[in-house]
């Protein structure tokens, strides 16, 4: 196989066996418009391995009940599985305790929780929240809302032409009124890996807490929240081979303890009277209502899967794939890669001379190649680079060099049509 021939100097047993992992994803056997699916829209959502699909089906087939309520057997089984999933998240990101893991609907839900329960009570008019210039809308709009509510100001750290956060400007923007830094770990639009260790250290030197938006990073780089020492880390299950509608917020216990609940409802209370309600302990204080039980269990199965493959092995494999994709794609005349940071996750965002991203997306799709076309929910990034949108190929552990070749062939077809 082409793959194996080109992996030099690595012992056979340590080679990344992509064919083996691909076999775990039934959707990769789909045909689209008569072509084998080439799925390169992993930054939007990832595909699910059979083990995750099974975990969802098994839960509904055998264990389904509400959690933390019933005395009956199924309720106990559902509760055990749900709490086991919390433990899996805790271990995956190396949190100190399971109570520091709050299940949310996703990264967006997690960031909104922090905006309303952490930031809103401490913000006064004139205080500042610092974000980066390449945030996803989900790490912009929740802060705009809380700024409107409190009179606080949103400050933005610029990025350079390569799509790298300007750390000098960041240091200057960190001021006496900065109350929180909210920063993406990996840019979904450009692929840039932000040096969050440095970002966090600089913020902490001024006693400023940090939230990291890990939506795009979680399936590509190892995350150790204790080593990072961030106050909050948010991610979504569906970006790491788990189901949609589930995600997690990590928060340092002391911070979470000090925060008021985000939403009121069942499960987040200890006792309720019309005069006074006592809230439940962590993490339940932040999990009002019947949670996405199956989703949490599915996300736990997804993290198990990634651990089996090994996040380090995934990162190394994807780095190789990104190098190959960058070489192949940048050789195409008239193609401009947007986002050329030194540290990048496996995302290639590009524009094509005289061809709109939507047309690229439609034509590639007819050849079975799925990419994202548009602004990637990061319109300020597009504005920064003076473009309306890009075509974006984003890779995951199951993508191959053949997938890159199919992408390149598709782009050539686009150019032939638009000649």
């Amino acid at each position: 196989m082409k793959m194996e021939r080109e992996v030099f100097g690595i012992p056979a047993d340590e080679r990344f066996d992509v064919a083996r992992w691909r076999a775990d994803f039934p959707i990769l056997r789909e045909q689209v418009h008569g072509h084998p699916l080439v799925y390169l829209d992993n930054a939007a959502t990832t595909q699910k391995p059979q083990s995750v699909i099974n975990a969802l089906a098994d839960y509904y087939a055998r264990d389904n009940a509400n959690v933390h309520r019933g005395v009956h057997t199924l309720s106990q089984r559902a509760t055990d599985a749900y709490e086991a999933a919390r433990g899996k998240v805790q271990r995956f990101i190396n949190a100190a305790a399971p109570e520091e893991i709050i299940f949310t609907a996703g990264t967006t839900g997690a960031i909104n929780l922090v905006a309303q329960s952490f930031a809103r009570p401490i913000l006064n008019a004139g205080d500042e929240i610092l974000i980066g210039a390449m945030e996803h809308h989900s790490n912009i709009v929740p802060w705009q809302l809380v700024c409107q509510q409190t009179g606080a100001l949103l400050k933005v750290v610029p990025v350079n032409d390569a799509g790298e956060l300007e750390l000098d400007a960041y240091e200057r923007l960190l001021g006496p009124r900065t109350r929180l830094v909210a920063i993406t770990h990996v840019s979904n639009a450009l692929g840039s890996v932000v040096p969050i260790e440095r970002v966090i250290a600089l913020a902490h030197a001024r006693n400023v807490p940090v939230l990291v938006d890990g939506a795009q990073a979680i399936s590509h780089v190892g995350v150790d929240v204790r080593a990072l020492d961030c106050e909050f880390y948010a991610f979504s299950g569906h970006k790491i081979f788990g189901p949609t509608g589930i995600g997690a917020l990590y928060g340092k216990a002391a911070r979470l303890e000090a925060m008021p609940p985000y939403q009121g409802g069942g499960d987040m209370i200890r006792s309720v009277t019309f005069e006074k309600t006592e809230y439940n302990d962590l993490p339940y204080k932040f999990e009002a209502g019947t949670p996405n039980i199956a989703g949490a269990i599915g996300m736990g199965a997804a993290l198990d899967y990634v651990s089996t493959v090994g996040i380090g092995a995934i990162a190394a494999y994807e780095r190789d794939l990104l190098t190959y994709a960058t070489e192949q794609v940048s050789a195409i005349p008239g193609l401009r890669i947007i986002g050329t940071a030194k540290e990048k996750a496996a995302i290639v965002s590009f524009t094509l001379h005289r061809v709109h991203a939507h047309d690229i997306g439609t034509i590639l799709d007819r050849g079975g190649v799925a990419i994202r076309a548009g602004h990637h929910c990061a319109m300020p990034v597009m504005e920064r680079f003076g473009i309306a949108g890009t075509a974006r190929a984003s890779f995951a552990l199951y993508n191959t060099r053949e997938d890159v070749d199919a992408l390149v062939a598709g782009i050539h077809r686009v150019q032939r049509m638009f000649r």
Binding site: H33, G34, R354, V355, H356, A357, H358, D359, T362, I363, R366, A373, G374, H375, M379, M382, A388, G389, R413, M417, F418
Partner: protein, 149 residues
């Protein structure tokens, strides 16, 4: 190339994409509106000069992809000299054509029929109708940019 791609990207579409007709600001316009497709960030401005219920001149700026640009260009050609009262009917028939909905009393859409291939690409219908929605807003003098959502 698959045949539905060929049906979508006809030579006339490419021609209007490369050399859009009436693509300019209209200084003496008496109706104007901005349209926006939040899905892709594409924007279009439609200018109209209407006198005695007749569209005397029409132009556009912006658009984006081949389908949106060609559709705006073809629309301006189709509208010149038309009565405002007939625009509604034309828009309805055009929309029905690109969404494959049955039309009560279909009329001959002339050159606009090159966009019929859009019906095989549901994700692109908004590209084809952006200019038309914006035209609608211009005739109603809506101040807020119209969105395809």
């Amino acid at each position: 190339m698959t045949s539905d791609l060929r049906d979508l990207y006809q030579e006339v579409i490419f021609d209007h994409y490369r050399k859009p007709r009436n693509c300019r600001a209209l200084m003496d316009a008496n109706h104007k509106a901005e349209g926006y497709n939040p899905l892709c960030g594409d924007k279009v401005t439609i200018y109209l000069k209407v006198a005695d219920g007749i569209i005397e001149d029409v132009a556009f700026e912006g658009a984006g992809c081949a389908i949106a640009t060609a559709s705006a260009s073809l629309m301006t050609e189709a509208l010149k000299g038309k009565r405002v009262a007939d625009v509604e009917h034309l828009f309805r028939d055009f929309r029905d054509m690109v969404t494959d909905a049955p039309t009560a009393s279909p009329q001959d859409l002339g050159k606009l029929e090159v966009l019929a291939g859009v019906r095989e690409f549901p994700a692109r219908v908004k590209c084809a109708t952006l200019a038309w929605h914006t035209l609608h807003a211009a005739l109603e003098d809506r101040q807020q940019p119209v969105s395809t959502e």
